[in-house]
Symmetry: C2
Subunit: 241 residues, 2 copies
DNA sequence: ATATTATACTTGTCTGTACAAGTTGTCAAT
DNA sequence: ATTGACAACTTGTACAGACAAGTATAATAT
């Protein structure tokens, strides 16, 4: 997955932290020691350490070292563009996906227009999936995959992981996303699907982009309010916008 | 604010993007041109560009250049540890803060214990503030500032900006935070403060830390559901946890 | 005992070089 | 006109060296 030397080192350090080889509160080996361990230059080591810092796994303290932070599985940030299938694997949940709809459209379906007016006339694949955890319907994912760049979308990919399909089969380079989390009123249909008493749901709306900056996916995720939990790690920004 | 050469360059680029000197869709000058412009080495330029990449301001494309992304003010990510006063300045809102409570406690008040059980016996300053925008009460911020490391907390700091006070007066080095966003039931008192019809609010619970990894602040922010909006920028992570 | 100094560690910052790899346009051969 | 090779750009990765600055320990001077 991570082919560069920096990536290999970073992944190895992450794995060792995960398996408690380096425990929360411990200091990692010093940068010079890591240079010997991995046979790399100091800049290379430092780039790997910086990526762990951004992930919230370590904190660097000048003059002392890099200390492993205390982030158990439940506080580990869910942000980043993580697909449901990946989340599922990482957290070891037994989840199920029901595909409610998969069809090609020649313009953006009505329910999306309010949130993504700029794509009103785009061709794409309309996909609706209900996510169940322990038999309970927790999330309704409504996707619109823009075509181009998405040429095809088999039913089987929709049932398992469209990200796996797009990245590995279609060789699309998924890169970044903008997300908005808010609370919205939902119609009777969604209310029934999620078996909700009232008409409020947490809505995560996201625009997803490839590395060449082309937009390829719009998503509206409706979450049961009582099950929704978004965990984030944030560093104090030194740059003022 | 940013004393390092990298920081100065990054801030300058951000300012130029902000003032449309570099517009969305444009390519920034190449790294070699930026070297000449700022009189810096390529690695220094690249570190500055990387920080813009993480902020979601640009996208680097190999062989082509760094393209400015289209992020208007409303989609600019609010994450990071940004204080209400800072947000206020950046967005140019006319907001008001009412201090409801400020007193020292010798153990964690009951309302916090459910979310921060590990700090049950900590001494600290209990602070409650109501945030109003256009006269409307939108957020109730409940803070617990741990003592140590926070020795004092004057009323005036609570009314304006405790982050300004802690960073500039007390010289605390605020570094990172973990946040959890969820939806919770609120009691009658909070319901009245926020003038809500029902008993649901969006709750952002966060643990805030200094650069030396000491926890200094616990926060429970209750948001009116109809006003809450959390905007985020996320990059696809290449590291699997 | 206390304070100071020296030192050996740590991370932070910046420089310069080298080569790999992706993109684009030019020019020549077909 | 199309193709293909090449050159000139771009960013990506890695290396080695130098000095600054913060931390901790031990030896020293008072």
């Amino acid at each position: 997955m991570a082919q560069s030397k920096v990536g290999v080192i970073a992944q190895d350090l992450v794995d060792k932290i995960k398996h408690q080889q380096y425990k929360p509160g411990d200091y990692l080996p010093s940068e010079h020691q890591l240079m010997d361990l991995y046979g790399a230059s100091r800049e290379t080591i430092r780039k790997a350490l910086n990526s762990l810092t951004e992930l919230g796994l370590i904190q660097k303290i000048r003059g002392k070292g890099s200390i492993v932070l205390n982030l158990d599985r439940y506080t580990f940030p869910i942000s980043g563009i993580t697909s449901f299938a990946e989340l599922n694997n990482q957290l070891g949940l037994k989840a199920e996906t029901k595909v409610l709809l998969l069809q090609k459209e020649d313009k953006l379906p009505a329910q999306f227009i309010k949130y993504f007016p700029e794509e009103e006339n785009s061709i794409g694949f309309h996909l609706e999936r209900l996510r169940l955890i322990d038999g309970q319907a927790d999330v309704l994912d409504c996707d619109y995959l823009l075509s181009p760049p998405v040429n095809s979308l088999p039913q089987e990919a929709a049932e398992t992981s469209i990200y796996d399909y797009l990245e590995n089969k279609q060789k699309l380079d998924i890169s970044y996303a903008t997300k908005e989390i808010s609370v919205c009123k939902i119609d009777k249909r969604i209310q029934d699907l999620l078996q909700l008493d009232n008409d409020l749901a947490v809505l995560v709306a996201s625009r997803n982009y490839l590395a060449n900056t082309t937009k390829f996916q719009l998503t509206l995720s409706y979450h049961r309010p009582d099950k929704f939990k978004f965990v984030d790690f944030a560093r104090r920004k030194k740059i003022k916008f």
